[in-house]
Symmetry: C2
């Protein structure tokens, strides 16, 4: 027997919050963002709904950055950049992902492949400038 799903104001608000941001929010970020409009929101509810949306395929995890799991409401394939300095996760819409790769892994290794991620690591522009400024101070 399937478990039924009911409407909930907070569930809707959580999904809207994720969809309205391109920062790939963490649970904590969602919680603090919604806390002003939903003062009785609890962190447990955020986590429970993140799990709910993941199982639905409504959102996807883009990995753990600095100990916090980050989520994306855009499930169409696109690559990401992670700033190892400030933890920002940025969409790279101009860097295409090759859909054929999924089939290649399936054929060459015999695995059942659902999706793949292409993730770049480095320093974002903001942090690059910050570092140059810090080096100026030391010089």
């Amino acid at each position: 027997m399937e478990r039924a799903t009911r409407y909930s104001k907070k569930r809707e608000a959580i999904l809207t919050a994720i969809r309205s941001s391109d920062a790939h929010p963490s649970a904590e970020w969602i919680y603090h963002t919604l806390k002003s409009t939903h003062p009785d929101l609890s962190l447990g509810t955020v986590y429970r709904n993140l799990l709910f949306f993941q199982q639905n395929g409504t959102i996807q995890s883009v990995g753990v950055v600095n100990g916090q799991e980050r989520f994306d409401a855009v499930t169409a394939p696109h690559s990401h950049f992670v700033c190892t300095s400030c933890g920002a996760v940025i969409d790279l819409h101009r860097i295409p992902m090759d859909p054929a790769l999924t089939a290649a892994v399936r054929e060459q290794y015999g695995f059942e492949v659902q999706r793949h991620e292409l993730t770049f690591y480095g320093r974002c522009q903001k942090c690059m400038q910050k570092r140059i400024h810090e080096e100026d101070l030391l010089a």
Copy 2:
């Protein structure tokens, strides 16, 4: 001033353990694996040395799987497969990574790019068979 580095039996054992395995070990795995030959090893030491080796570039994190960070002593670029059923992390040496992509992100976005990861998610052969077997039992 640089901080000097000294030899340590346990540090060596930890690196050897990572290098001897292709399973992309977690801290816990290393700890349990070495516990028999190094009964007084502590988990804190494992974590401290994992950090040490990462900062040296001797090892790299390949991400967090089921809440545990996983490490790889092979720092040459290669892609990975993560089984979402059993958590196995498997090298895909036959799926090449395009080194030009790093430069492409640098040029098109102006980020300082250090490396990139190509990771596939799905079900490994062992788990595929297990599921078929479970379905047989239900039929």
